[in-house]
């Protein structure tokens, strides 16, 4: 909290003052970094214990041991061999992958219009986008379910979750719009002077500059679909062939009643891809989070 590091106060004789300042700086360094290590333990130990338990034998998983006696890597094999697990993977990839592509493609033009066009009702539209973004999905779920299940007979599939993503997602539109407003108008105007149409300007000039924003939106959307529990619960619960990982994971604890080791192995397999993706795209992601709160 103190700023002694950068600005030692020189009131006493220079030598003595410098010594106290340096000692204070060292003490502060130690205090800050001890706190840092304590916090790091709080954030990482849950992962560590989950991982350790996932490698325990069935009998040891029933004990209070913290570290496995024998390392049962076969637990992961068992999880992957569970009927359905690979289907859940495939379904999740389809929901998250296709959903992300559709969201990005349909949200970009809307965000561009909201950022760069001048038209009546633009602020109203933006306010409605923000309202939609803040709305719990449960508010409209009853009519939506009746629409997909009774009129289109699509319950038991993930299509009721994927198709709406082709019509713009409020959060993605908002985030992209925040990003696109930072693209200077001069570039847009210059492209138009050069004879580019609206669509060409967007694709050739604006989008390359907005790449970090697009990456952040794609990541958020991918994670959203990957993590979604409520959606698959409403539309896919009746058909295990359409379950996603997030939805199917919970059935693990049920099916393997007390086997925490297998449940935790499955948990690790659901977490791992998200964390891997994060390591490859850390910068875009953190930038995106910052953009939701600070810029604007």
């Amino acid at each position: 909290m103190t700023q002694v590091l950068d600005k030692p106060v020189r009131t006493l004789a220079p030598a003595a003052g410098e010594r106290t300042a340096r000692r204070r700086a060292l003490l502060e360094w130690v205090a800050v970094h001890s706190l840092g290590v304590a916090a790091a333990l709080f954030f990482t130990l849950p992962f560590v214990f989950v991982f350790l338990t996932s490698l325990m034998s069935d009998t040891q998983a029933l004990s209070r041991d913290l570290v496995p006696h024998t390392w049962e890597w076969g637990n992961y094999r068992k999880v992957l061999d569970t009927p359905g697990f690979l289907t859940w993977w495939r379904n999740t990839l389809m929901y998250a992958g296709l959903g992300t592509v559709l969201t990005v493609v349909s949200s970009i033009p809307v965000a561009y219009a909201l950022a760069k066009f001048r038209f009546r009702g633009r602020n109203l539209a933006l306010m409605l986008v923000i309202s939609m973004m803040m709305l719990p999905p449960q508010v409209v779920v009853i009519p939506m379910y009746l629409f997909w299940a009774k009129q289109l007979d699509l319950s038991g599939t993930l299509w009721p979750l994927i198709v709406p993503m082709a019509f713009g997602d409020a959060f993605s539109i908002f985030l992209l719009r925040q990003f696109l407003t930072t693209v200077p108008d001069e570039y847009v105007d210059a492209a138009k002077v050069d004879g580019c149409g609206e669509l060409r300007t967007l694709v050739r000039v604006v989008l390359p500059m907005a790449r970090p924003g697009i990456a952040a939106v794609a990541l958020f959307q991918f994670f959203y679909a990957w993590n979604d529990y409520f959606g698959p619960q409403i539309y896919a619960s009746e058909n295990p062939g359409a379950w996603t990982l997030s939805y199917g994971l919970e059935s693990f604890k049920g099916a393997h009643h007390t086997d925490w080791n297998l449940t935790m192995a499955a948990t690790v397999l659901v977490m791992a891809p998200v964390i891997l993706v994060f390591f490859f795209a850390q910068k875009a992601f953190v930038e995106g989070v910052t953009l939701t709160g600070v810029k604007g």
Partner: protein, 331 residues
């Protein structure tokens, strides 16, 4: 909708000073068409997936409808049922208030604390930041399952350690008075989003103000209180209001925690009375599921949905008023 959105069309023919020539009108029409084309995905989405179902929710809240027989009008019956007779409504609302008062507040304080800490760390900053951030990414179902294991009173590592050092360990997700604190702990674990937002805000505080305060002999606490806090107060406000809005949507974590702790096996048609233990993890979104998809009382489910709508809209309005910047970006 399209009427208000199309550009220029009503740009004021009177003010056009002899405008309205055919060429200009054509250009305006073209621009309106262009705006309309770019906005069209959202316009359709707004109509089909927002406006229509919202109106429909209002309509169904006055109907008796079980999904099998035709809907029939029953006036304010559903409303009376939800507020006066549905046993889960008030516990869910009370839990939501608890979560707003405790979980949201602690998350903001903890997020600010971790944000401050990360700005002070000079060695290995990148590693610390990544470690602090990682739990935020854990998928909610997986994170909740992990905590249900870590905190389970039988074999969980947390209670093993606590008892080994002689602390009487709580029942966490199995004890009605500890289940919400356990959920709060889970929420604090996933503080990464707030940490990043606060970190960015803290780094934006002008250095000169700290230096000036230091020259005036301000203590570290005074510097925090009179320099840091006023500078980041809009972000604190943002964190509080979005926290409240997220609490209105709080669904997956309490549901999974309750299900796993109670040992209910999932499957089609499973009748899980939500809120285990003793309704202590009930939240409003769970009621929509319970009424609509377990009790097949779509009408009453729509009443709860509208309560949820009213609450989130109120807080969203607050967010947009307090932070005009959220809307007027860039220019």
């Amino acid at each position: 909708m399209s009427g208000t959105l199309t550009s220029g069309r009503r740009g004021g023919p009177g003010s056009g000073a002899g405008g309205g020539t055919r060429a200009r009108r054509a250009r305006r029409a073209q621009r309106a068409l262009r705006t309309f084309a770019f906005m069209s995905p959202w316009l359709i989405g707004f109509g089909v997936f927002f406006a229509y179902p919202l109106l429909s929710t209002v309509y169904f809240s006055f109907m008796h409808y079980d999904g099998f027989t035709a809907p029939s009008w029953n006036g304010a019956q559903n409303w009376r049922y939800v507020f006066a007779h549905y046993p889960l409504f008030w516990p869910a609302l009370r839990n939501t208030l608890w979560l707003v008062a405790v979980m949201v507040a602690l998350r903001v304080v903890f997020g600010l604390g971790v944000g401050l800490l990360i700005t002070k760390i000079r060695t290995g900053t990148g590693v610390f930041r990544t470690l602090f951030y990682l739990p935020y990414l854990a998928p909610p179902v997986a994170a909740t399952m992990s905590f249900a294991f870590l905190l389970n009173p039988g074999t969980g590592p947390v209670n093993s350690v606590l008892e080994r050092i002689g602390v009487k360990a709580p029942g966490w997700f199995d004890d009605p008075s500890w289940s919400k604190p356990a959920l709060t702990l889970l929420a604090l674990w996933g503080i990464g989003d707030l940490m990043v937002i606060f970190m960015a805000a803290l780094l934006d505080v002008p250095r000169e103000q700290y230096e000036a305060a230091e020259l005036d002999g301000a203590s570290p606490w005074q510097r925090f209180r009179f320099v840091t806090l006023p500078n980041i107060s809009p972000i604190v406000m943002f964190a509080v209001v979005t926290g409240v809005i997220q609490t209105m949507q709080y669904y997956t974590q309490p549901l999974i925690a309750g299900k796993v702790a109670s040992g209910v096996i999932q499957g089609a048609g499973t009748q899980f009375e939500p809120g285990y233990p003793d309704r202590s993890t009930l939240t409003l979104p769970q009621l929509v599921y319970n009424l609509g998809f377990q009790r097949f009382d779509h009408g009453s489910a729509c009443v709860v949905a509208l309560v949820l709508f009213a609450l989130s809209t109120a807080f969203t309005a607050l967010l947009m008023r307090r932070r005009g910047g959220l809307v007027q970006a860039g220019d």
